[in-house]
């Protein structure tokens, strides 16, 4: 049980009479990066949001650290989970420093610790603290903003990281850069990560395992190798349309 960070048990999500997700049974192992892959409307974002209770399941149970999310204090739950969305949602009226320091401040950490943490997080995402901490989001490029978003999500030292199409809005070069960056970070911090994407290439690059979703149902969970060799028609279709090029194929196999 300790190895399971997140678990979905018979989870269904219904909205306006329609079933958008489920029934879903899924486990996320501690320290792994699980990618939820699927097209728009496949339910992957829904599944993600059930983890930090931005949405509530209609049936079934979502467990985080062995406890049903329903039993967690929802604010506490969210503060212990890092959350990065595609638009970053950086507070435009806060400096980079204030943005990144947000969760540690909410958790009541002492100020000196917060300052160190902010600097540390910025370095982690390859942004020189001296240069960037006083800037405002509108003074940053798209890529830089995404990095701050990741730094912010990690600042509270969460057990779990949720990422929703985080690299989707960036130009290909920035996207590639950030994906590399993310893998570096993972080597250092080893967070349990659930990452939502519709991009096959990204999934294969970043994932330990890939959970393929379609029409709200889980089609299967695959390791990289399994995904590349699967004879399943849907998987094959994904392989076909993805631009599958992997420079330096030596990461977590």
């Amino acid at each position: 049980m300790d190895q399971t960070a997140i678990a979905f048990r018979g989870v269904t999500y219904r909205a306006q009479g329609r079933v958008l997700l489920g029934p879903l049974d899924l486990e996320v192992r501690r320290g792994e990066t699980l990618v939820l892959l699927g097209r728009s409307g496949s339910g992957k974002t829904t599944a993600l949001k059930l983890i930090n209770r931005l949405l509530e399941e209609s049936e079934g149970t979502v467990l985080v650290d062995g406890r049903p999310t329903r039993e967690w204090d929802v604010i506490s739950l969210r503060r212990h989970i890092g959350y990065v969305i595609q638009e970053t949602g950086l507070f435009p009226h806060y400096t980079v420093e204030k943005n990144v320091a947000l969760v540690p401040r909410l958790l009541g950490r002492p100020e000196t610790e917060i300052q160190e943490r902010v600097a540390g997080m910025l370095r982690l995402v390859d942004l020189e603290p001296q240069e960037f901490r006083g800037r405002y989001p509108h003074q940053l490029s798209g890529g830089q903003r995404q990095r701050v978003g990741v730094a912010r999500a990690l600042a509270g030292d969460p057990e779990i990281l949720l990422m929703d199409e985080t690299f989707g809005a960036l130009d290909p070069l920035s996207r590639a850069e950030l994906q590399q960056q993310f893998m570096e970070i993972q080597k250092q911090v080893r967070k349990t990560t659930v990452l939502v994407t519709h991009d096959v290439g990204e999934a294969l690059l970043l994932a330990n395992r890939i959970a393929l979703l379609e029409g709200g149902k889980l089609l299967g969970i695959y390791s990289r190798a399994e995904f590349l060799n699967s004879s399943d028609r849907t998987v094959a279709a994904y392989r076909a349309c993805g631009n599958l090029q992997f420079p330096g194929d030596d990461r977590h196999a």
């Binding site: 970053t88 435009p92 009226h93």
Partner: protein
């Protein structure tokens, strides 16, 4: 005209101060009630229709009529300044409530979602995200309301509340242009000054967009 101003400068100053006082008190009341009301509407959307609808109705009542309605009210109606301040505050409510509501609901949904996801409580959301980011819009509402009040306050002199309208009404009764202008010009200047001043503040408070 200049000679007139020089001769009557004390009176002009007195009436201008009275005018400002009427508007200031009314606006203070309207903001203290209106902004929380606007915030409440974002939390309880069901109230939106009745509250904004109600404020709308008040807005359509001609000012002089509203003054008249309030005359027989107990305590309120006993003093002209109370009537004037009440009416002015009522008129100021709609722009303020509406802009507060629009400002807050207009906050970038991405920011809102990120904030929720990070574990901000509803209260923290309000003070750290929603209010700072909607301050510019709220201020726009206050600006509209204040300029409106400065105008309506000139009519308050008709019921004895003092202010620059006294010059205007007197000038009308005596068919004296100088008097009318002595009331109208300061009122207009006041309105312009407030409009520009708050406009500047509004621009400063606008959150920088990416």
């Amino acid at each position: 005209m200049l000679e007139f101003i020089r001769l009557h400068r004390v009176e002009i100053a007195t009436l201008t101060l009275e005018h400002i006082w009427l508007v200031a008190i009314s606006m203070a009341i309207a903001v203290l009630i209106g902004v929380p009301a606007g915030i409440l509407l974002t939390r309880k959307p069901k109230l939106r229709e009745p509250v904004i609808g109600g404020a709308n109705v008040i807005e359509t009542i001609p000012s002089l009529a509203l003054f008249g309605f309030l005359l027989p009210a107990p305590w309120l109606g006993a003093r002209a300044d109370r009537i004037a301040i009440t009416a002015l505050a009522l008129y100021a409510l709609l722009p303020i409530i509406r802009n507060t509501y629009v400002g807050i609901t207009g906050v970038d949904p991405g920011v809102r979602e990120a904030a929720r996801g990070m574990g901000l409580t509803s209260r923290q959301m309000l003070w750290q995200v929603e209010l700072p980011l909607s301050m510019s819009v709220i201020l726009a509402g206050i600006r509209t309301a204040t300029v409106l009040c400065i105008g309506i306050a000139t009519i308050a002199a008709a019921i004895g509340a003092g202010g620059l309208g006294e010059f205007i009404f007197r000038g009308l009764a005596m068919v004296n242009d100088s008097l009318i202008l002595a009331g109208a010009i300061p009122a207009a200047i006041l309105a312009l000054a407030v409009d520009l001043g708050l406009g500047w503040l509004e621009a400063r408070l606008r959150p920088p967009s990416a």
